[in-house]
């Protein structure tokens, strides 16, 4: 039972530390806290998916960059599309820096857009950073009449989706509501690859909400052979690979629409978000943020990510802070436009 004893020791030292808040050497306080400790990295999904793969990769490397070199233990805590975890981290998890987590990229905007079941204030999370600034695309199969965004004025595009709330559904719904009526969503496919198979056999014409990094890693032959057309980029900034493909925000007709689109696609910036509960000691948050940044620059980490084909476009915690406060400052018009835009309207 000695690990338990270790917990006790760590706990006592923690108690001791809280008595000595004004210890002059801060770095040591952080390092003392993390030394010999296990830091839990909670994943809002079950094992095997994208969020899980990213998190487990991070867990292998993050520990050595945190003062005191704690062990990072990834744990899956699935439930309600990771909402359970978001609520858990905000309300229940210890606010001492011993728990960090990752959940759905759109979660931070949920209180604004639907608010269903959210019991947190996204501004208050201690954002550590995002491993990837995702760029998703809309693509059509080569046999479809729709080869560019302009073609959508004349022809219908049937896209496949994996179910309500998924990017494959939300993104085409937003496009249908704000940009073109000619996009039709057939939803219910068990997974993204099922949509691609349906596209190959002609059941649907395309897929919206397809991460560009996945297109490159899994479907490079389709790209090379011209079997798919990339119509539009769904993100706030263009991917360096795709300078000539338009960005979704270019299709906004006024400021409110632009803000609404930004509000919805902000999730792409925090594509693989990492955060700690609100109100953790500031020195530990700084240490975690520094460690996160150091990890993303760590050649071993990058080599591992490259080997398993995970795209890395790190975003810092500070940047996420700024983005979220900007979003929460959006005008009421923009918010209501956005929350209507993500709901499937009749006849789609």
């Amino acid at each position: 039972m000695w690990p338990a004893k270790r917990h006790l020791l760590a706990f006592c030292s923690c108690l001791l530390m809280s008595q000595l808040v004004v210890v002059p050497i801060k770095a040591d306080a952080v390092s003392d806290f993390y030394k010999g400790r296990q830091v839990r990295l909670l994943i809002g999904y079950s094992a095997g998916g994208g969020y899980d793969t990213y998190a487990r990769l991070l867990a292998r490397h993050l520990g050595k960059h945190i003062p005191g070199n704690p062990t990072i233990v990834p744990q899956n805590m699935p439930g309600a599309g990771s909402l359970t975890l978001a609520n858990f981290i905000y309300n229940v998890a210890p606010k001492d820096g011993s728990v960090i987590g990752t959940f759905a990229r759109g979660m931070a905007m949920e209180p604004l857009l639907s608010g269903m079941g959210t019991r947190f204030n996204a501004n208050e999370f201690s954002w550590i950073g995002s491993l990837n600034n995702e760029v998703s695309v809309c693509a059509s199969w080569y046999e479809s009449n729709v080869k560019t965004m302009e073609d959508l004025n004349n022809y219908e595009l049937i896209v496949g989706g994996t179910g309500s709330g998924a990017d494959t559904d939300t993104f085409p719904i937003v496009m249908g509501n704000l940009i073109t009526p000619n996009i039709k969503l057939i939803s219910g496919y068990p997974g993204g690859n099922d949509v691609l198979l349906a596209m190959e056999r002609g059941e649907v014409d395309g897929r919206c909400g397809w991460s560009w990094s996945t297109v490159v890693s899994r479907s490079s032959d389709w790209l090379a052979e011209g079997r798919i057309n990339i119509l539009v980029q769904l993100a706030l900034e263009k991917h360096p690979d795709l300078p000539h493909i338009p960005l979704i925000t270019e299709f906004a007709e006024n400021d409110d629409e632009l803000m609404a689109l930004e509000l919805i696609f902000a999730r792409q910036v925090m594509g693989r978000p990492y955060l700690a509960p609100p109100g953790i000691p500031i020195d530990r948050l700084t240490a975690l943020r520094n460690a996160f940044e150091a990890t993303t620059n760590d050649p071993e980490f990058i080599a591992d990510a490259t080997r398993i084909q995970l795209e890395l476009n790190p975003v810092s915690g500070e940047e996420i802070d700024i983005l979220i406060s900007r979003i929460y400052d959006a005008s009421e018009n923009a918010v209501s436009l956005a929350s209507k835009a993500i709901v499937k309207s009749d006849g789609m």
Binding site: P74, G163, S164, G188, Y189, D221, I308, Q309
Partner: protein, 675 residues
């Protein structure tokens, strides 16, 4: 081309036979076997956990290791299924029906022999089918659109009729309940929260693991507790010779093995058709096509063979869409798919041309893993079979403790234990009142996928998809398979007793039916408030189930002579007796059953207060001492053993996040110790 492929296949074999790879394959098999034995843990857990260890390996070794894990969980899951009636993974529930009765009559060895040899042959058949169909894979899969997949799933659902035996109406109701339970949670079309009652737990729907463990494992354990006898009453049976008899049985029924393997492999390729239904479909097929099936459900070795050969063949089938299109045929394949990418392999046509050598090495891994797994199990089963003769006062608390941990793997929330409890009670009542349970699990697993493909088909093709040839074929098969037995049974049950008195009789069974009707009514009423896309399928299913339930009630109250007795004799003499129906409830059973489920309920409360580890320790200790009348020191030893084992496995190795307990949250100092 042919010669080239053959050469590649042979080369791949020689690559696989290199000692280092064989060792890795063996290690994978050991992990897989261990995971398979523990209820609640399936291949998914093992593969997900060990993927990081394959980063440094070459592609061949990595797949040898991972497939070793995935391929054999359905071999060793037979062990708890036969011994305790507890499915080791969701794929061995059908094995319980005949395997467990065999163990009860002292034939555990024979059941093991048959199960492992059937697993082996099934696994080999699956691998073989994968190998020979490689050239034809892509066109076939491209031909199967959503309407075809829907038709196949509906055909699978129609097996409900066969699996219900004479209780066709109740089977329909059970399937209806299963379908409705499958629709709990966020609706894929509109995001409507269906039947979630404002709890987060139900948002993602009910998890399969606690439902299966509840429906099939708890009722068996409840009856063990009531009977208070050790499982294998005949102690002197020579398990080794029984084992050989089992192997001979498998060879004797080779044609059944082959058919069930094909079913397993073919259905394994359909996304969404998991191992949780494939064993039942094979079992249903055996019931339908074999002669002299009256002993099915009471220890017919063919039941074990059918179930076991199909669920090992499944992996081969599930690899088909995974390799050829990157569409995972099962949950563990989805994770394996991740491993492909990590090793630079892109699923798709390339796997059948440029990377054909890797594909063949996967086929060989699958075949070799099955040989290793079955061989090892056969070697060990002699010892394992002896477990059945351990005193029930020791065994029951231990198995219960493990099941609680297993159920919690569903979604790692306290709700999992509630689900286990609720379905345990439901399963126990169903078992004793002659309600078939397999249809419920069939409906539960297929419900989601049927609704998804139905919406895709209708939204995409309106109704023209109904004229597609394969759709017509499978729908016709389904209708014939469903309506035929239903009408026959209805006629028989309404007619047989018409000459008898028309005095209404209200038995316990009728009372239960009434509760079911009430439940269905409430659910239908709740569903009627949702928007159209969210409510249409639940209403359709709910109303059909309601109608069947009402018919069943009328049948029970007016057309059956004297409640339980007659109805049960009917069930027992039916030629396809699926559920081992005992005669209703005696007073003794009611009392003991209440004690058993009461204890389980108390455990769940205790766990919420003190956390799982302490609760299981106390539960096993107290249960052994007071109920089992074991000595304190022995009880302490066992309860410490099971708690320590679970702590090591779940906390240290699997590192699961334990749900919050009350004591830990009010006294944070205790938090780290209460898990």
């Amino acid at each position: 081309m042919e010669a080239g492929a053959l050469e590649l296949a042979v080369n791949a074999l020689s690559v696989m036979l290199e000692p280092s790879r064989l060792i890795l394959l063996g290690a994978g098999v050991l992990v897989g076997l261990t995971i398979g034995v523990i209820p609640g843990l399936g291949g998914i857990v093992g593969i997900a956990l060990l993927i990081p260890f394959t980063f440094e390996m070459d592609a061949y070794s990595a797949f040898a290791f991972l497939i070793g894990i995935g391929a054999v969980t359905t071999t060793s899951d037979t062990v708890p299924a036969v011994l305790f009636g507890v499915p080791g993974t969701t794929g061995s529930a059908a094995t319980i029906l005949d395997g467990h009765p065999l163990a009860k009559t002292g034939h555990a060895g024979r059941a093991f022999g048959a199960a492992y040899s059937a697993s082996l042959l099934g696994g080999l058949a699956g691998a073989f089918l994968l190998a020979v169909s490689i050239p034809a894979l892509r066109p076939v899969i491209l031909y199967l659109g959503s309407p075809e997949l829907l038709a196949i799933c509906v055909f699978g659902l129609s097996m409900v009729a066969v699996l219900s035996g004479k209780a066709a109406l109740r089977g329909m109701v059970a399937a209806g309940i299963g379908l409705m339970i499958a629709m709990v949670g966020s609706d894929p079309q509109t995001g409507t929260m269906r039947w979630t009652f404002d709890t987060f737990y139900l948002w993602d729907g009910l998890p399969l693991v606690p439902v299966t463990l509840g429906l099939f494992a708890l009722p068996e354990l409840a009856d063990l507790a009531i009977g208070k006898k050790s499982i294998g009453r005949v102690h002197s049976v020579n398990t080794r010779s029984g084992q050989f008899q089992g192997i001979r049985n498998t060879l004797q029924y080779w044609w059944l093995v082959l058919r069930c393997s094909w079913i397993g492999a073919a259905l394994g390729a359909v996304p969404g058709m998991g191992s949780a239904v494939i064993d039942w479909l094979a079992y249903g097929h055996a019931l339908k096509t074999e002669k002299n099936t009256e002993k099915f459900g009471n220890g017919d070795i063919r039941g074990v063979i059918a179930s076991e050969s199909s669920n090992n063949a499944k992996e081969g089938g599930a690899l088909v869409p995974t390799l050829a299109f990157g569409v995972p045929g099962s949950a563990s394949m989805a994770i394996l798919l991740g491993a492909f990418t990590m090793h630079g392999l892109v699923p798709g046509p390339g796997m059948l041309t440029d990377n054909l050598d890797v594909t063949y090495s996967i086929v060989w891994s699958l075949a070799l893993a099955n040989v290793f797994g079955a061989g090892l199990c056969l070697l060990l089963s002699n010892q394992l079979a002896k477990v059945a003769s351990i005193r029930i006062s020791v065994l029951l608390p231990l198995v219960l403790g493990i099941i609680f941990f297993g159920a919690l793997q569903g979604s790692r929330q306290w709700g999992d234990l509630n689900v286990l409890f609720a379905f345990g009670l439901l399963g126990w009542i169903m078992k004793h009142l002659g309600w078939p349970r397999p249809p419920l699990i069939l409906g539960f697993v297929l419900g989601d996928i049927v609704e998804r493909y139905l919406f895709i088909s209708v939204n995409r093709y309106e109704w023209t998809w109904l004229s597609r040839p394969l759709v017509i074929l499978f729908f016709t098969l389904a209708i014939v398979g469903l309506i035929g037995p239903l009408l026959r049974n209805l006629k028989a049950s309404f007619k047989s007793d018409q000459t008898k008195s028309f005095l209404p009789k209200f038995s316990m069974s009728a009372f239960f039916t009434l509760i079911v009707i009430l439940f269905l009514t409430i659910y239908v009423l709740l569903a009627s408030q949702w928007n159209f896309e969210a409510r249409i399928v639940p209403l359709l299913v709910g109303c059909t189930a309601l109608m069947c339930a009402i018919l069943s009630l009328i049948n029970q109250v007016f057309f059956q002579q004297s409640g339980n007795k007659t109805s049960n004799i009917n069930e027992n003499t039916s030629q396809s007796n699926i559920d081992d129906v005992s005669v209703g409830f005696t007073k003794h059973m009611m009392v003991e059953g209440c004690i058993f489920f009461g204890n389980c309920g108390l455990f769940i409360l205790l766990a919420r207060v003190t956390g799982m580890l302490l609760a299981v320790f106390l539960f096993v200790l107290l249960y052994m001492c007071f109920w089992g009348k074991e000595g304190l020191s022995r009880a302490a030893l066992f309860s410490l053993g099971v708690t320590g084992f679970s702590w090591l496995l779940f906390d240290r190795v699997l590192s699961i996040p334990w749900p919050q307990n009350f004591l830990g949250s009010i006294v944070p100092v205790l938090g780290p110790f209460l898990k």
